[in-house]
């Protein structure tokens, strides 16, 4: 690499990459932290706040994110239209119904630094509710990031042999009544 011209070396070091994240069955907060780190450029050793070194992040399957706990009913997103009596509150479930990308968008927006670069970084974030991604964006992708949460397998995803092979402590007798 040292034999390259200064311009080529500079262009290589500051090149902007495109990352893909699959948000299926993932907690939106963890997805948002991964996005925010890469949008700012903090994963690079050449990071500086003023050098505009952030990368592009594409998030797919935002419709299938998974909040833990009762957040779908308990988490409240508030906004005000500016007019009197215009204070609106929505639960996460209602907001997700209205716009499947809004939860991740708001989460990432809140995690970025509160300065003028935030809007530029948000423009570099692409959100897709399903795994349908336009071809231009697919052509740009360089790396898929590993998912933050290990999705456990459902009971119906186990084969009967695996269920039977699973060690059990005791088998209840046939007339046993479980409480």
């Amino acid at each position: 690499m040292s034999s390259f011209t200064k311009a080529a070396q500079q262009w290589a070091t500051f090149a902007r990459s495109w990352y893909l994240i699959d948000a299926k069955m993932q907690p939106p907060g963890k997805i948002a932290t991964m996005c925010a780190i890469r949008l700012q450029g903090k994963h690079k050793p050449i990071y500086h706040a003023l050098s505009d070194c952030g990368d592009h992040v594409v998030v797919m399957n935002t419709r299938h994110i998974a909040f833990s706990g009762n957040k779908w009913e308990q988490k409240v997103y508030s906004s005000h239209t500016g007019y009197p009596g215009g204070f609106k509150q929505m639960t996460a479930a209602q907001l997700h119904q209205k716009d499947p990308t809004a939860i991740i968008k708001l989460a990432v927006y809140g995690m970025l630094p509160r300065n003028l670069s935030r809007r530029t970084m948000m423009q570099r974030l692409q959100l897709f509710p399903d795994d349908v991604i336009p071809e231009e964006i697919l052509n740009n992708l360089t790396e898929e990031l590993p998912q933050p949460r290990n999705v456990p397998r459902r009971l119906n995803e186990y084969t009967q042999e695996e269920i039977e092979a699973f060690p059990s402590l005791w088998t209840p007798p046939e007339d046993f009544k479980m409480k």
């Binding site: 690499m1 040292s2 034999s3 390259f4 080529a8 070396q9 262009w11 290589a12 070091t13 090149a15 990459s17 893909l20 690079k44 050793p45 050449i46 071809e135 697919l138 052509n139 740009n140 992708l141 360089t142 790396e143 898929e144």
Partner: protein
């Protein structure tokens, strides 16, 4: 403004002053003041007490004292390289004016801007300057088809960058055979094309045809 937006210069002396004999770089000091205004009070006191001693101590400097009707008294210092520096001495005390005149008389006429250091290196980076693919291991998981050709391109690039093939880059060939030729207009690949002419990553000048595993393995081993 940042230091990149403002002018800067390297440290130098005017005509190697001091190598042989030292020549005082200031040629003329003009003191413009008013004989009545309140703002020139300090200037008038300085002229009464200290200007003659200053002129005697610095025989190389010509001192002009011009009483004029002016709102703000000034010191105008002219240097041998043509620089003219005007300093207002508005409502300054006599001591402050002496200090200012001492400072001006010891300056050379070069601009007072950021001084740069004459650093040069032929090897700016020992381990190689970072680029986005430096520590990025090629992922072997099954990703969607359009990504596969880019990942194999990355394998080839890694093999090209690490010229001594110590790194075991591609442990397994991609499981799917992709017949698409990578789009060489894509910005990242344009970058790599700009960079890679110095390292020949393929023996021929044809574009990379990622159609079969053996090509990948040949470059990776």
């Amino acid at each position: 403004m940042t230091s990149r937006g403002t002018p800067s210069r390297f440290l130098k002396s005017v005509l190697q002053n001091g190598v042989g004999r030292y020549v005082c770089q200031i040629k003329r000091i003009s003191l413009v003041f008013s004989k009545d205004a309140q703002t020139s009070l300090g200037a008038r006191e300085f002229i009464e007490d200290k200007v003659v001693d200053f002129a005697k101590q610095n025989p190389g400097i010509v001192v002009y004292v011009t009483p004029q009707r002016c709102r703000i008294p000034k010191i105008i210092a002219e240097y041998l390289n043509g620089t003219v520096k005007e300093e207002p001495i508005n409502s300054k005390t006599s001591e402050e004016i002496t200090q200012l005149i001492k400072k001006l008389s010891s300056q050379s006429g070069l601009e007072v801007i950021r001084i740069r250091k004459p650093i040069h290196t032929d090897s700016p980076s020992i381990q190689g300057q970072w680029h986005p693919f430096t520590n990025r291991p090629p992922s072997l998981r099954l990703v969607s088809a359009p990504l596969v050709n880019l990942l194999t391109v990355m394998c080839l690039i890694r093999a090209g960058f690490s010229s001594s093939s110590e790194s075991h880059v591609c442990g397994a060939s991609p499981t799917r055979a992709v017949e698409r030729v990578p789009d060489l207009q894509h910005p990242l690949l344009v970058v790599l094309n700009v960079l890679l002419p110095h390292h020949s990553y393929s023996k021929t000048t044809e574009p990379i045809v990622v159609s079969s595993a053996p090509i990948v393995n040949a470059h990776c081993t």
